[in-house]
Symmetry: C2
Subunit: 225 residues, 2 copies
């Protein structure tokens, strides 16, 4: 059986969980508290990050973009990067946009401040940094506007078909939704797009995710949020 | 003719310049001072980053990872991601490692502090942040150790063949080498690997790069540094 080392609120892990589910590939999960730098885990991935996937043949795959491309090549049924060079470039551009702009500026920041920071032994750790949280939540509006702009012109983020662009954006948004930090009410088009993804069967596993001491927002389970 | 919008000290732009040169694809370059957010440039790439490539057919391609994958698919002669799924995953893992760990922590930081910051109208801008520079230069040793570890076991970073992993790592290192910040003397294996890349004809264009007010380190042009 495939094994995915992940953390429930890691958006990059959620991206791979969604890809595996959309491609109907069986896998078991193992939660990795990656900040503890467990030596056996560092043997699998020197960078010490989740996700790490061990495929059926024993291949150890690390880094979400490399895993995503691997899965697309190894399991080409139910393609998620699309066809045609411009289309594939657009999917990859948006995937990088959400992983980098959104990931570094918003989702990683909010999960770190609100969840992971409490486990780390940082010098002078005085709890969540309210300035960093305010800045991340402010930047979120720009991204929701961009999603709205895209789905006002296209069926899905990168074009006619559901793709890795939608998966990546939804993976990042879903962790912030758990934290209750998405201002859905002022972004109706983005909300409509997200509700289409949230009602896909492959998304349901996220709704069961829990981390100790951090209850999901009241609407997190609600498909009609 | 293809047009590449780039900035001479942008490591992500250098990655694409090297790929184009290795694949023997003709292109002209246009320097983009991307921090000025020129409206015509933002029309090409909303994210406002270089590199942006306009291919022969008019396709506009943005974000270095999407451009790299596009070029590999559009021009499969002289492949740079390799063959076989595990090998391709390893190339992509290392590409992401250098673009993210090295790029965010070191090369982007040093180029920003030593070059780009002087052009930006930042509140309270008091010149280069010596703490940030010290931290980036400290982290550089870990990456050079990692490169040495890899080339002690493999011919090139990802295995037997020169690949996008080598191109990406060399692109990031080359901008820091321009700044004179690479401690080559204490990393002889990494230096030997870099000198092999530096002597490739495709690398020569970098040696002509200049930015106003910032003279390259004395050994920057020297193939026998």
């Amino acid at each position: 059986m495939r094994i995915l080392y992940h953390y429930p609120l890691c958006p990059y892990s959620r991206k791979i969980r969604l890809i595996l589910a959309e491609k109907k590939l069986d896998f078991t999960t193992q939660i990795e508290r990656y900040w503890e730098k467990r030596p056996e885990f560092l043997q699998l991935n020197l960078a010490g990050h989740v996700p790490v996937l061990i495929d059926l043949n024993g291949s150890v795959l690390a880094t979400s973009v490399a895993i995503a491309e691997y899965l697309e090549e190894a399991y080409p049924d139910r393609p998620l990067i699309g066809e045609g060079l411009p289309q594939r470039a657009e999917v990859r551009r948006l995937m990088a946009w959400f992983d980098e702009q959104f990931g570094h500026g918003i989702s990683k920041c909010l999960v770190f401040e609100k969840n992971i920071k409490r486990y780390m032994k940082l010098t002078g750790n005085t709890g969540p940094d309210s300035n960093a949280i305010r800045q991340a939540k402010g930047a979120l509006h720009t991204h929701l506007d961009y999603i709205s702009w895209l789905v006002d012109r296209r069926n899905w983020l990168a074009g006619d078909h559901f793709s890795l662009a939608d998966i990546t954006a939804a993976a990042h948004l879903s962790v912030i939704d758990y934290l209750g930090d998405v201002p859905w009410e002022s972004h109706s088009l983005a909300k409509e797009w997200y509700s289409r993804i949230k009602s896909r069967p492959t998304f349901r596993t996220f709704l069961q995710d829990r981390v100790p001491g951090l209850v999901p927002a009241s609407h997190y389970l609600d498909l009609d949020f």
